[in-house]
Symmetry: C2
Subunit: 243 residues, 2 copies
Amino acid sequence: MNIQLLLTPFPLDRAELEGKTVVVTDVLRSSTSICASLLAGARGVIPTGGPGEAGELWAKLGPDNAVLAGERDGVRIENFQYGNSPTEFTPDTVGGKNVILCTTSGTGIFVHTNRAGLVLSGALVNISSVAEAVARADQDTVIVCSGREGGFSIEDTLCGGMLIDQLNGNHGCDVTLNDAGALARLLYSERKTSLQKAIAQGEHGKFLASLGLGSDVEICSRTDSMPVLPMLKDGRLIRSDGA
Amino acid sequence: MNIQLLLTPFPLDRAELEGKTVVVTDVLRSSTSICASLLAGARGVIPTGGPGEAGELWAKLGPDNAVLAGERDGVRIENFQYGNSPTEFTPDTVGGKNVILCTTSGTGIFVHTNRAGLVLSGALVNISSVAEAVARADQDTVIVCSGREGGFSIEDTLCGGMLIDQLNGNHGCDVTLNDAGALARLLYSERKTSLQKAIAQGEHGKFLASLGLGSDVEICSRTDSMPVLPMLKDGRLIRSDGA
């Protein structure tokens, strides 16, 4: 299996995605919030590229069918019902509804993936579910790290490295990696015994802690704590793990 | 010393550069060609953002004062006298002249550095000269890796990691690193005993070899083989090592 990891989404425009599996990862926090929403019984999560698009969609779907959630620079968008903390997405708040989600880095990426064969949302909280699905699909794979402020982010790179490690180790996939994939695997192998600490002490982790969101960072770092598999179908992330 | 390493130039627009040292690195090949040009006796190297700008400048300076060099996707730009191979820049071709250089990733970065206190061009071939100058300047430092096709490149990241290693190890600088800087240091520490091999087997190294430019990759990987210090002054890179 050929695996191409992108440390930031910028090269995505030029990537060949046809017939490939794409895993979008934004550990802090949208990929984690997507898992939390689906686990809480949301019908689906609709990733959007901007607040305007999200607001229009919400007006169209109506409050009985959808909630509006998202953040810019870590803070809830004005007039949105929810921010981007995984703790906000509970059966009470999102059960039976669509979550229209708009975040700084993560959600906009999905619009670039429409040529892919299979699109998954991956986080640390569902890493083994994602690895299993990627191994089962058994096709060339692109791991897109959302990164942060145009640069790489340590938590997404660690997540990509852990995915590669599981594909190769647990699932016996014979993987060939691009340079960034090899780097991510190296980073994961160096930090795997102190994953939570590496993320908490990373730039994004410290930034969120400075906003009083340190517990979110801790929640997002718990591997396999939300074993759900969000798969993109017609522009909406839905559970594809049979629940 | 606070060191911020950028794996790609994209976050540069938002970086605070005032009063800082900026090191631009494009190991394959523009940073190496800059060193080769200055060692060969060029009066200076003028980095440009595009072929049009480069051509206009050449028309203005005239063939007695300047040569026009550059590449797109590894290949010499049509109607340019030279490409971007360090072997092209000799006393015969560039001695006493300015080299107007235009490359895919590296040269355009310099236009974003005009607020910086000190701007250097760093490669593996002049790594110790750069480390010494950065240590001497003793101010916060931004290492800008040119990367490749919007993504990171292993050779520039290794070069950044080696620079950090020398600053901390050889010069005793007390460095604090951003996440990318820590990653670069980790990569360098893992690969330092097989630096040439890691670069030759990287994506960019293999791409250049496929164009028949494998010997350039080898030349660009020789640490400290061109001990010269290119410093930006009024838009032109000149020797600042007293030669």
